[in-house]
């Protein structure tokens, strides 16, 4: 049928061609429309289009035969069919047949190559993108792609735009294999290499532009970085020589704005790309070397750089070819599986033999817990001694022992600590590493947290006031935030080992009888248990430890001073300007404090203040800050009781909701958007929760459990309530 159509079409008038074209491409839809669901399987798109592909191959066979026969013929109708199918989104089906066949046929035959080139060239401009994308995605390697497309990008402006601009700079959803195909294709012909250099320059321009770094999502930046690395791998020595200066300048700029970013992922991308560029342009001189964590992602990026152009043709099998190749690959994988299996068994047997050897090693060890590091000097026993040592002592051994002992000392002597708490906090805040102690920062932080928990109000006042004062390093300011968070967390957890035991102990002493009565009850319980048969057990009720929430009375002191001065820049510290990283930390800290303040008295006031704060910053350019703002909102929603939210903060809530809607739509940062979806649901859910509360007068779980159980448990309940409501809806 198809052959007839196409034979006729070749000479026919334009209208007929168009009608035929539309008919061929839309046939499955029309058939199914007219048959209303009783569509034969052949006309399902997933069956029909491969068939069409096979037909195209047949037509091409005939064309090649007629070309060999000396007669001329036009291929444009076939191209149009191809283009239209592709633009209708059926690239996968049709090209999964076409590409492997064509790749096979063009391998050695130059007539077939010409036919293929013409086939793609003749695709009308408006469908070009879809066709080229299809080919780039399906081709098993850059050399195949080069055979199939020829110098299309040089001849056809549209194709050139699509390949050099659209795929690389405007879109970023393709896999690394596609990128490798594309750039490998550009590098395989001398005419196209000029394009490759141009592409690299454009990529670098984007990479080094600070506004792109700030505003484009991390995924796109990773995509661009990958493209740059692949480009670099394809460039040859003289080509690099010719554009060394440009590479250098854009590298310098790019490194600067990447390192400036507050997202670690972006910083690392910048480092990796810069290292690669510098190693390419300075083959003999010194190269850049950054310190970053070497993980799978970094290794993957780096592997892009070392890959030789010829190798990248091999591994990039597109998904659909994989099915066909799976059979071939199967023995391989099973073999390797077998190998790994035997290796595994080998290891096991090794272990077994070890175990056997060990089995007669029946020497039981003694207690070795006393085996501790030998200290030359004894740690001080009094807090005041510690202060003396930390401020004035030249004896480094003593100093070290003091730093190590301080935390436990503070916790053991709360009364003595309270006398000097602010002084101690001050010393610890300014404490610098004198000698090289393992984990010094952590020791210092734990001591700070201990001081803050022992005497929360004055120390919190001191620390929060210092956060906005002059002459601190960013590190110290962030230390302050961390310490506040850790101490707040500690205070808001009920003390299982501390206070409660102290309360119980005197009871036991006062009433010695209670001890034995407990035993008596236990014995009876045991007896009952042993004589009772139970057919089903309810979920065992875990008794959650309870105690007064110590954070209740001090939450405000932790929280409000941090909100006060954020918009007043100092000469050395400008939260809204350069120091946006600290701002991000501050916002996250506030979110955590808000979260921990659940069930405290001050929570409503805190929530209100925090909402205002969020409102002021909602269009901040740094995505780290925005993420923090989002978590602020969610912790407000979680912590503030629903009645208060509804009564006191309705306006803020509505404003926030509309902003959240905007964020979901428009935020360039993927994380923000994702977070947002959940949170948006949460707001909606919360509203439903209000409705339920108002209608049925159920006491809100948060109110019922007031201040006695852990905040975690309550939050779990709120979450389940909110989400449950939402999904029911």
């Amino acid at each position: 049928m198809w052959e007839v159509c196409q034979q006729q079409a070749r000479g026919g008038p334009a209208e007929l061609q168009d009608a035929l074209l539309a008919g061929v491409v839309a046939l499955p839809d029309r058939v199914s429309n007219s048959l209303r669901g009783r569509n034969p399987a052949v006309f399902f798109p997933q069956n029909y289009f491969p068939l069409l592909g096979a037909a195209i191959v047949e037509v091409l066979h005939e064309i090649s035969a007629s070309l060999r026969g000396g007669s001329d013929c036009s291929i444009s109708f076939v191209s149009q069919v191809l283009g239209k199918v592709c633009v209708h989104g059926r690239q996968k089906e049709i090209l999964s047949v076409l590409v492997p066949r064509l790749a096979d046929l063009t391998k050695s035959d130059c007539i077939w190559q010409r036919i293929c080139w013409r086939l793609v060239e003749c695709v009308p401009e408006r469908w070009m993108e879809a066709v080229v994308l299809g080919f780039v995605q399906r081709a098993p390697g850059a050399d195949v792609l080069s055979r199939l497309l020829g110098n299309l990008v040089v001849k056809n402006k549209q194709a050139q735009f699509v390949v050099t601009q659209k795929f690389l700079l405007l879109q970023y959803g393709y896999t690394t294999a596609v990128l490798q195909n594309l750039l490998g294709y550009l590098s395989l012909d001398s005419l196209r290499r000029a394009l490759l250099i141009k592409v690299l320059q454009e990529l670098l321009e984007t990479w080094s532009s600070s506004s792109a770094v700030k505003h484009s999502p991390a995924e796109q930046q990773e995509y661009i970085s990958k493209a740059i690395l692949i480009c670099l791998s394809h460039l040859k020595e003289p080509e690099i020589e010719s554009c060394r200066q440009e590479l250098l300048t854009s590298m310098m700029e790019g490194v600067k704005c990447h390192l400036d970013s507050s997202l670690p992922q972006i910083r690392r991308l910048g480092m990796i790309v810069a290292e690669s560029i510098s190693s390419k342009i300075n083959t003999d001189g010194p190269v850049l070397k950054f310190q970053y964590e070497e993980d799978d992602e970094a290794r993957e990026l780096k592997s892009l750089l070392v890959q030789a152009p010829s190798i990248c043709a091999v591994p990039s099998l597109p998904d659909d070819n994989r099915n066909e190749k799976a059979d071939a690959a199967l023995p391989l994988t099973s073999e390797s599986n077998g190998k790994s299996h035997t290796a595994a068994t080998h290891v096991v047997s090794d272990e077994e033999s070890d175990a056997e050897l060990d089995s007669d090693d029946d020497l039981t060890p003694y207690d070795m817990s006393e085996d501790k590091e030998l200290k030359k000097t004894k740690a001080p026993v009094y807090i005041r001694d510690c202060i003396e040592v930390l401020t004035g002592s030249e004896d480094t051994d003593k100093w070290e022992a003091t730093v190590k002992a301080l935390e436990s000392l503070v916790r053991k002597n709360p009364a003595a600590t309270r006398e000097v708490s602010v002084e101690l906090a001050k010393i610890l805040l300014h404490l610098e590493e004198k000698t090289c102690i393992e984990g010094f920062a952590e020791l210092r932080q734990r001591a700070q947290v201990a001081v803050l928990t022992v005497d929360p109000i004055p120390v919190a006042q001191y620390l929060t006031s210092q956060f906005y004062s002059l002459n601190y390093s960013l590190r110290q300011r962030m230390d302050i935030l961390d310490v506040l968070v850790l101490a707040a967390r500690e205070l808001s957890f009920p003390k299982v080992h501390g206070k409660i035991k102290h309360v119980e102990k005197p009871c036991v002493q006062l009433l010695p009888g209670s001890d034995s009565s407990n035993d008596w009850r236990k014995i009876v319980d045991e007896r009952i248990k042993s004589k009772t048969r139970r057919f089903a057990k309810g979920p065992s009720q875990v008794q959650v430890a309870s105690g007064p929430n110590e954070f209740n009375s001090v939450a405000g002191h932790f929280f409000f001073p941090l909100l006060q001065n954020f918009d007043r820049p100092l000469s050395t510290f400008d939260l809204l300007g350069e120091d946006h990283f600290v701002l991000g930390r501050l916002v996250h800290t506030l979110a955590v404090l808000m979260y921990l303040a659940v069930n405290t008295v001050a929570v409503t006031a805190m929530g209100k203040a925090l909402m205002e704060f969020v409102w002021a910053l909602r269009f901040h350019t740094d995505s780290y800050v925005r993420q923090g703002l989002l978590s602020c909102i969610s912790s407000v929603l979680l912590s503030v009781p629903a009645e208060h939210l509804l009564n006191n903060m309705t306006e803020e809530l509505l404003e926030t909701q509309s902003w959240l809607g905007d964020v979901v739509e428009k935020d360039p940062d993927g994380d923000c958007r994702r977070d947002q979806k959940i949170r948006n649901r949460c707001t909606v859910g919360q509203k439903f929760a209000f409705g339920i509360i108002n209608n049925t007068h159920i006491i809100h779980p948060a109110a019922r459990l007031k201040t006695t159980t852990t905040p975690w448990v309550i939050n779990m309940k709120i979450w389940s309530l909110l989400l449950g409501n939402f999904f029911e809806e």
Partner: protein, 328 residues
């Protein structure tokens, strides 16, 4: 909960100087009392009667210079002792005598302890540090003829030998020498050719002590670092690092594997004796009694395993005697 570590069975006091060397002689038949020889910093060798726990005799032959090594030759009547007066003395202790029969002048000023190996009835080999800083000399005893001098290749920069261990696989095979050097390497020497068979860098710091188990072809060495290194010797006579074990505190002054190759003990600069299972170096006990660096550890050669003892000599002038893991 593991049992708390045991206390020493008894403690020998009265050397009035730091103890640097210990050697048991407990293998005798019934009328013989078990004996412990100890060499101390004041140059005296004390002969302890382990029944009465008193000093039987005190031998003074090293001119008040520290004694760093004592070893018996065939029973308790012949004793070899090495002192910091650069002499190695052979004592005749039979029938109550306390005289120096013979002596060798070592010319070495280092702290390297000698090593003795019985190769045949009435024939011993003794390895000792020689006059040149990096040389080791092997003598045949009692004839005192030099068997060979082991000199590292020029430019090897091994430094002084720090510890020696003579051994042979079986009675009639070639004796070999393991020596630990100042640069942290352990070297295996072939005595007949005077050649290095294998060299292994297993420490960053000087090797303070080593011991070797010829049955398993596996040895252990300690240095002034926090690491014990376990190495093995393969069929090609190559030394390879097997594992390393990290210690809590740095510094090992002596390592001894018990003759039955079940456990080993280390003497630590951190005042503690550590006991490990020899098979997998499983930590078994940390014996904390001494108040100063432990200089030496030694296992007794009792015929009956349940009587076996562990002795440790320390800078705090005391010798602690322990009975540990005797049932295995």
């Amino acid at each position: 909960m593991a049992a708390p570590p045991p206390d020493p069975q008894f403690v020998l006091r009265g050397t009035s100087a730091a103890v640097h060397a210990l050697h048991f002689s407990c293998g005798g038949q019934e009328p013989d009392v078990p004996i412990l020889f100890s060499g101390s910093e004041n140059g005296l060798i004390n002969v302890w009667n382990l029944k009465t726990r008193r000093v039987d005799k005190a031998l003074d032959g090293h001119g008040r210079k520290s004694v760093c090594w004592v070893e018996t030759m065939d029973g308790k009547d012949r004793l070899l002792s090495q002192g910091r007066d650069q002499r190695i003395c052979l004592w005749d202790l039979a029938e109550g005598r306390t005289s120096v029969m013979d002596s060798v002048f070592t010319e070495s000023v280092g702290f390297c302890r000698c090593s003795l190996l019985k190769v045949a009835q009435g024939r011993w080999l003794m390895a000792m540090a020689a006059k040149a800083l990096d040389e080791v000399q092997v003598l045949e005893l009692p004839s005192k003829t030099s068997v060979c001098t082991l000199k590292p290749e020029a430019g090897a920069k091994l430094g002084m030998p720090m510890c020696l261990k003579l051994w042979q696989i079986s009675c009639d095979s070639q004796p070999l020498l393991l020596s630990g050097y100042e640069d942290g390497s352990v070297v295996l020497w072939n005595l007949s050719m005077g050649k290095v068979l294998s060299q292994l860098f297993c420490h960053q710091e000087p090797v303070m002590s080593l011991d070797f188990d010829s049955e398993k072809a596996k040895g252990i060495s300690g240095s002034s670092e926090k690491v014990l290194s376990i190495w093995s010797l393969n069929e090609q006579q190559n030394l390879q690092v097997h594992t390393t074990h990290r210690l809590v505190n740095a510094g090992i002054s002596d390592i001894t594997i018990r003759p039955d190759k079940k456990i080993l003990a280390t003497a630590g600069w951190d005042h503690r004796i550590r006991v490990f299972g020899w098979k997998k170096l499983k930590p078994l006990a940390v014996l904390d009694y001494h108040t100063a660096t432990v200089h030496c550890v030694s296992f007794s050669d009792h015929k009956n395993p349940s009587e076996r003892l562990l002795a440790a000599g320390s800078k705090d002038h005391r010798i602690s005697i322990w009975s540990i893991y005797t049932q295995t």
